[in-house]
């Protein structure tokens, strides 16, 4: 490889890294948390008051509900084994007009149950939004709403991320064998950080290649389909994606009283796939000619086509499996290839073990971008020559403050959002809690400088992380307090406790460095000399 190319790619790596690093940090930290979106949502859902209608009586519940609320026939779900997150056996979601496919939280949510006398009760409920807030922050790199413009921004950052990966590999290839397993922990701290940055980057490279390619595709698939439809598919794409017309002789209107029972529908699918663990039945258009039920579930031994698992399509009147294109373990090879792209991004294969692996890889990715910024700062550091400490360049101070403010601020914000979803349930939108903490943290970082703010904000992140199990503890000890603790989601509390402990350790190490580390650094407290101007802006 020409030395000139390597120099070019070094410059490229520096600048795409510094532009995209902080956004990617948020996306990766939030993305690591999305591995546990389901338990977090369950953790944040208050205990339900309505009794669950037994599964055997669900048939009648469906008929009564559709008689009372015909609009529910468009799309409703029967939960076989409802968790804390589901208020009733039967739920549906009326999406706001023109809402996108990811609008899980907007609109109105209803559930149907029966009162003590057996009469039908339909009530609106407000599901815990914190899980989808985390997911949104992940999908659009810390922006509030997942829409076309924010996804385009995410796509640009993902392209920069891809360029950073490629250039990082080009830079390290010539010295790969020599440097990969070297961790030179000596006087030269920058050397050590760079060694660690390189080792983590190279060892998790396959994960990053997958994430970069899938993220860019998620951002721009609509445009790509449009271009390919014109260029490659001769405008036939819309027809191909349209579902086939119902067979001749299908009645235009169906009577839900003739629906097979949920147990019978489950039996139809279970017969063909015994290892498929069925969780819910999604009824779509059951009073119309295209009546179908998506039988959702998971198969830990197979690749899941989507993050929540996959589904078999069943005709709920005839009782036969219509389509297994999205069913784990039953897909055709081409469908499996496409599903694997989703599964590889979302860690939707291999069950809990892979979710933990992805959690660690996500955190390692966030760490990679954080260290990238640290190295940028370190490379531009002004060293002391002779007596007195030099002022660090303005750009270096600003970047140090921004890195700490954005990265640690987003971590604190996410912890705050989760804690608030229980402590202030219904009173404070978790998204507002996130932005409140995030912007205060960012402002604080610029006000007091990176060295001080890094200690303060890590302390804040620890406090907010500890507030997560605190809410559960209060709910457990004092159920009258209005808080709650679900025995099934103690993992969320333990995880937060562990993260909080890690933040405390980092805060202490950071404080030590600020006190005892090299004084000619942007990370040093100016206490030992006359205080230089330290406010970055």
């Amino acid at each position: 490889m020409r030395a000139e190319s390597i120099r070019t790619y070094k410059v490229l790596h520096t600048w795409v890294g510094i532009v995209s690093g902080m956004g990617l940090f948020i996306a990766f930290f939030a993305g690591a948390l999305t591995m546990f979106e389901e338990p977090i949502t369950r953790w944040a859902t208050p205990p339900g008051s309505a009794p669950m209608v037994p599964l055997a009586e669900t048939e009648a519940l469906v008929v009564d509900t559709l008689a009372a609320r015909p609009d529910a026939a468009r799309d409703f779900t029967v939960h076989l084994e409802p968790t804390e997150a589901e208020p009733g056996r039967l739920t549906w979601h009326v999406r706001p007009e023109g809402a996108g496919e990811h609008a899980e939280t907007g609109g109105e949510h209803y559930y149907a149950t029966r009162d003590a006398s057996g009469a039908l009760v339909v009530e609106e409920h407000h599901p815990a939004t914190v899980g989808s807030v985390i997911d949104t922050l992940h999908r659009v790199v810390g922006l509030p709403v997942d829409g076309d413009p924010t996804r385009a921004v995410m796509g640009i950052l993902a392209i920069l991320y891809a360029l950073a990966l490629f250039s990082g590999v080009v830079i390290i290839v010539p010295s790969l064998v020599r440097d990969l397993f070297a961790l030179r922990t000596g006087k030269n701290l920058k050397r050590m950080w760079m060694d660690a940055h390189n080792a983590v980057g190279v060892l998790s490279l396959p994960f990053h290649v997958v994430i970069a390619c899938t993220a860019v595709t998620f951002a721009y698939h609509d445009v790509i389909y449009l271009a390919q439809d014109a260029l490659v598919h001769e405008g036939e794409l819309a027809t191909a994606f349209r579902p086939p017309p119902p067979p001749e002789g299908t009645p235009r209107e169906r009577d839900p009283a003739e629906l097979l029972s949920p147990a019978a529908i489950v039996a139809v699918v279970q017969e063909t796939a015994p290892s498929f663990a069925i969780e819910s039945l999604q009824y779509i258009g059951v009073t119309g000619p295209r009546a179908m039920v998506r039988v959702w579930g998971k198969d830990p031994a197979a690749i899941s086509p989507r993050a929540p698992g996959g589904f078999a399509v069943v005709d709920p009147y005839a009782g036969r499996v219509v389509n297994t294109a999205f069913m784990p373990g039953a897909q055709s090879p081409p469908n499996l290839v496409v599903s694997s792209f989703f599964a590889l991004h979302m860690g939707a294969f291999g069950g809990a073990l892979i979710r933990w692996v992805y959690f660690v890889l996500g955190l390692a990715g966030a760490w990679l971008f954080y260290t990238g910024n640290l190295l940028w700062v370190e490379s531009r550091r002004r060293k002391a020559r002779g007596a007195g400490q030099p002022d660090q360049p303005r750009a270096v101070r600003a970047m140090a403050a921004a890195t700490v403010g954005v990265c640690v601020g987003s971590v604190a914000g996410l912890a705050g959002a989760i804690a608030a979803s229980k402590l202030f349930a219904g009173a404070l939108d978790p998204l507002l809690a996130y932005y409140g903490v995030f912007f205060v943290a960012l402002g604080w970082a610029f006000a007091v400088g990176g060295a001080r703010a890094s200690v303060h904000l890590l302390g804040l992140a620890a406090l907010l992380a500890f507030a997560i199990p605190l809410g559960s503890l209060v709910g457990w000890l004092a159920p009258g307090s209005g808080l709650w603790a679900h025995p099934a989601t103690w993992g969320v509390d333990l995880g937060a406790l562990a993260l909080g402990g890690a933040f405390v350790a980092m805060a202490r190490a950071t404080a030590r460095r600020a006190r005892d580390g090299a004084p000619d650094s942007v990370w040093a407290l100016p206490a030992r000399g006359p205080a230089p101007a330290e406010v970055a802006q």
């Binding site: 020409r2 891809a162 990966l165 860019v216 390919q228 490659v232």
Partner: protein, 136 residues
Amino acid sequence: MKAATNEVGGQATPGTQATPGTETAPGTKPAPRPREARAKSAPASKRAASRHWVSKTLAGALLGLVLALGVSGVVAELAGAVPLVIRAQLVMWLVVPVWLTVFASVYFFRTGARAWVGLGAASALVHGLFFALRAL
């Protein structure tokens, strides 16, 4: 991909000096030199590394996408036996990996002009192949 574009860059105008003029010491012959020697001429090539960012980036972004769409067309033609509903998804997923690989490799070209010529030629080739396959 990396090697291929590199070769295209090398062949497009062989022997052209990496950095036209300015930084070269007077009397230095702007003739082709062995690869190693050229790599070691730090000042000249250092300057070259900071050149052509806009032109190379545009070539990588735009022609990389054109090339990737062409590759997806060729694959779609070759995979004609797969039903359109799934073939369309497969070739959609193909675009971004090809695009990003080409885009990221574009900085191996010595100049922006070479990048445009090289990627333009590759795109023309792939799209020619696509239309030939379709006409068959």
